[in-house]
Amino acid sequence: MPAPFILDRSSVTQVMAWVLAALLPGIAVYVWLFGPGILVTLALATVTALAGEAAMLKARGYPAKPFLLDLSAIVTAWLLALSLPALAPWWLIVTGTLFAIVVAKHLYGGLGQNIFNPAMVGYAVLIVSFPLQMTQWAGPLELTSASLTLEQSATVIFGGDVPKTTLDAVTMATPLDALRTGLLQQLTVDEVMTQPIFGHYGGTGFEWLAAAFLLGGLVLWALRIISWHVPLAFLAGVWLTAGFLHFFDAGRFGAPWFHLFAPSVMLGAFFIATDPVSGATTPRGKLIFGLGAGFLTIVIRTWGGYPDGVAFAILLLNLAVPLIDQYTQPRVYGGARKGKEPQA
């Protein structure tokens, strides 16, 4: 084995562990503001992901241990779980997770080979196939007339018998849904925003969730697990696109701050768009990737068939990554600067 003979202490496991750790503040806020249901979803997704990963590794003839220990399957599971409605039925969680692990990850070649972000593939499959179930969001406790305990949540998720009235009492549309609905009823943004669900910026509860994800993301950045390029560009893409539209017609387009703190943008910017495997790799490429994803997010939110666009935007940009990377190759040491011939 030739040089080098020493290694830095970093490892894939370490990277993934930090990502999981950085999600914890978000999860804590989630539990605090929306009830403990998300814990059931997280646990179920984790177990499913590990089982799916182990089965696929075995089928493909890879040793299970090093790959299960790399924690990447758990990262996928958690990101998917956090994108799902907290009270989604168990089969929805299992289907999405399995799709993410089996199809989006292993059929593409496993760790490091998937061109799409597995969690977002799982999410997209679910929203396309089961749009109805994907709207059963638990509302923020502040606004719901009832709340569910952990056991009750588990009962709901596993299809147990729960009075429909209880369920109706705890679920409500997300701020994005509400905005879309309101706008279609010919209300202006300001009129829509008077509904209690909208809170200060991004929706009651949701804005704190977003802030928690932002915090976790900043930790990842401080640790150099992720670079600033993608999140910043993504947020800038969202902010600029939403701001542009809002500037021209504040009545029909939500405010940029709302879009930033509305569900999923912070999670997407810091945890999903930064997935190294399916993202762009060059510095300029990362900026384009982030800006493009941010732009598409708002476009889809505004004109698309679904209320949120983060997942589709990221998947579309995943598709463009090879092209982006190819056209944004940075200047190498000693290479010509900006098209000029190197000075002899």
């Binding site: 059929l107 396309v128 749009p131």
Partner: protein, 225 residues
């Protein structure tokens, strides 16, 4: 005339070895668009087969009179004419089906597999061989279409043969198989992305099968000393 062996090899070629859908990956546009249930798939597949057989026969019969430089225009002319004829006939006699298949009937003209076989095979072989080859190729495509349609229909809505009434009339509705009663439905399978995913999986299975067969052959062959 043709021997049994030739016949068999042409069919093997069309259905397996050079299968248009799984191996050559030609004519994917209709393959992906019209494979959301078995009936659609079968109808379009057969229509394509018909066009292929007719055009291959025609191309092969005139192959000696067509100079190289206008080969392609002549073939396209023949194919386009035949497709339009079939388009008109379907419009007249199986109108409901025509409505479903819609734009994809005229699009058979641009289905590369038709021109590919006309140019690659029919223009170099005798009419009988060409027709057999075209039928084999067409059936190969139909086969993939039907399998794909079956998978998507079953996964997407839990039925098989739905829409059979469009071809055989209202009474045929009883033949629709509700394989999975009270099925939730898996929309993805029916929507366009489902076609890509299902076709991708089919191709993967086909390649995997091939690789396995090859490995077996290698294993069986005596190792060179």
């Amino acid at each position: 005339m043709m021997t049994m062996n030739e016949f068999r090899s042409l069919f093997h070629n069309g259905l397996v070895k050079q299968n248009t859908g799984l191996v050559q990956l030609l004519g994917l546009c209709p393959l992906l668009a019209i494979s959301n249930n078995i009936i659609n798939a079968l109808s379009l597949g057969l229509a394509t087969t018909l066009v292929m057989a007719a055009s291959s026969g025609a191309v092969s019969s005139v192959r000696n009179f067509v100079p190289n430089e206008i080969r392609i225009p002549v073939f396209v002319l023949i194919i386009a004419a035949l497709v339009t004829v079939i388009d008109l006939l379907m419009n007249a006699f199986v109108h409901p089906l025509y409505l479903v298949l819609g734009i994809f009937i005229p699009l058979i003209t641009t289905n590369c597999i038709v021109l590919a076989r006309a140019d690659a095979f029919a223009s170099k072989n005798r009419p009988l061989h060409s027709v057999v080859d075209a039928v084999a190729m067409g059936l190969g495509l139909t086969m993939v279409l039907v399998v794909l349609g079956g998978i998507r229909e079953l996964a997407g809505q839990g039925t098989l043969l739905s829409g059979i009434d469009l071809v055989f009339g209202e009474e045929a509705k009883q033949f629709v198989l509700h394989v999975l009663p009270d099925y939730q439905g898996f929309l993805l399978a029916i929507l366009p992305p489902g076609a890509f995913i299902a076709l991708g999986l089919l191709i993967a299975v086909n390649n995997w099968q091939k690789a396995r067969a090859e490995r077996r052959v290698h294993a069986a062959a005596p190792m060179p000393a």
